[in-house]
Symmetry: C2
Subunit: 360 residues, 2 copies
Amino acid sequence: MSPSAPPNPPRPAPKLRQVAAEAGVHFSTVSRALNPATRHLVAAPVAERVQAVAARLGYRVDAAASALRSGRSRLVGALVPGIANPVFAPILAGAAAALTEADHALLVADPGDDPARAAAFVAELASRRVDGMLLATAAREHDPAVAACLQRSLPVVLINRACARGTAVVPAVVPDDVAGMRLIVAHLSGLGHRRIGHLAGPATLSTGLLRRQGFEQAMAECGLHADGDAPIEVAEAFDRPAGRLAADRLLARPDRPTALACANDLLALGAYDACYAAGLRIPEDISVSGHNDMPLVDMITPGLTTVRIPHDAMGRQAAALLLETIRRGASSGITVLPPTLVVRGSTAPPGRRGASHERL
Amino acid sequence: MSPSAPPNPPRPAPKLRQVAAEAGVHFSTVSRALNPATRHLVAAPVAERVQAVAARLGYRVDAAASALRSGRSRLVGALVPGIANPVFAPILAGAAAALTEADHALLVADPGDDPARAAAFVAELASRRVDGMLLATAAREHDPAVAACLQRSLPVVLINRACARGTAVVPAVVPDDVAGMRLIVAHLSGLGHRRIGHLAGPATLSTGLLRRQGFEQAMAECGLHADGDAPIEVAEAFDRPAGRLAADRLLARPDRPTALACANDLLALGAYDACYAAGLRIPEDISVSGHNDMPLVDMITPGLTTVRIPHDAMGRQAAALLLETIRRGASSGITVLPPTLVVRGSTAPPGRRGASHERL
DNA sequence: AACGTTCCTGCAAACGTTTGTAGGATCGTT
DNA sequence: AACGATCCTACAAACGTTTGCAGGAACGTT
């Protein structure tokens, strides 16, 4: 019948009016029959007939027209600092999955670490009529992107970062950072470590601040004091080079710690670099721990002891929370997800002091 | 003046008519003045006045209305099997960056490895009026998602996978898999290896097939024969467990190879597992190489010798190619990106045969 | 001075849907 | 049998933009 070339010169997608003509009803009736929320307004047999015709023709509502008329786009914007970042990628994946189930789609934008750029993206996405925003970029306070959403009264959910906005709390899904650090400190303390250093992240990010607070609190609970037992160095950023630098400083201290609790897996990788450069073996000479349990950190040598954060679940929950906010109009509070300890080869009881020097 | 609560009850965004009223012109003139493509139709002083007013009011064109009327949405859909996959995440990041520069936005969907689901997503995204599609999920041939795009005459660019569609070639951006395997084989051969095994990926994926072909070709070029010198095992999937299984089979062969060239870093990780389980040291007893240079494969022990593929650049180029196709209407051919060899600790000259047995 | 161009601007018609309103059946009640 | 209530369907008006078309002003040419 037809040659091997694509047979049909791609017919334009069927419209509401064509389904209506085929089913012998007015096109507004078709609209109602196909929309679950208005289906009850049309007689059952008619609705069924319409649905059958629509299915046969392969009708799909035109999103642009629908968005224009109804004001709802079934689109959600997401801002992440680094799409390929091993922390944020699973968050995106989880959010995308949850949104798909709810017939929404995900519009991703990557402003990096630039808050002004993030705010610009909010404006852009708002003009695309997104129904809500997922922000994984928010700084601890006075974030322009958050402000941009609030000003447009765009529903917004923060991910991985908390953010106080005046007295009102912006809904968020965050890991329990304090509990996470408590797990790590308890683990190290249980192994016998007493001098435990902390590689903190930037204090401008809630994860940086909260994990540091969690560390100090947990140390106090173990009877260790922030003064002598718990030296702290703050990294400039949550990445490997910054971790290396901060760890170098920590290792150079006169009372070098026997364990390093890092605020982040990437910082821990930097700490590996620093330790190896200093001729220290992990975990024989010094224990190192991370935070996040990024993909593949089980593959490095030695495997990194860390705190697992369910990033995928965070994405899912944030999407669910946002959809809820969009529907209800109200914003629920902050969801805190419990972390779990993952022990691998990078932590061990402290060795005899000075052993590493004898090696050299 | 105003309390700490958000001062302005969020005024609706300004429309074309409001800008027009403020500037004292008809709103169609505003539309023309703000659109670079039609700006030349309006007198220069008027255009400037309009632009000033628009900027002052913070006007942004409503994407839904624009898409409805013009048929162009400035939206591009992307299908990837696994958003968080270390290979595809950088691709997405690159594509998003390139699209953003061209004032387009990225709509991501993750059908996993299910081709039917991918085709369904194409339909969904088409109804959202995306201007084109980026497919990183395509199988080697007869991919339903590709067919769905072609049938709707949606511009499409394949990423990381090539795909012949009848006689016509679907535009794609792919790594030079043959050249990559040639780099590896030349490296191993240069080290003195003669019996080199290949852990191939599924032949249904172009990367699986092409890298195998590249391997066989490169071996022949080095004077090694596919029969005796180059045993091949095909893994069920591109993941670590499948790599372990296939490597087990390869190691069990009577003439066990002294080097393993894997089609993928994940397969190589599986090969590590298999080698360690067999009591073989890497690289003393056996060399292992990967493909892709995923993040963190430099941190495992020993560091993985592999072929670096510029995934970020692939995403960028694919987006650029797609935008070009959208504008011109025509589809350019296939872009092939050159790989580079990254030598780390997992490859070395072959040791004396049997050394590993004496160890046990 | 009349006429043909060129240049600009206003007018109005789409694009395809959702949704308020009105009117015609149908039914049950008195 | 007449009336009100209920149920369903059709009609029409948006939503905000892009774009073909027409008309008027300004200009240069014969």
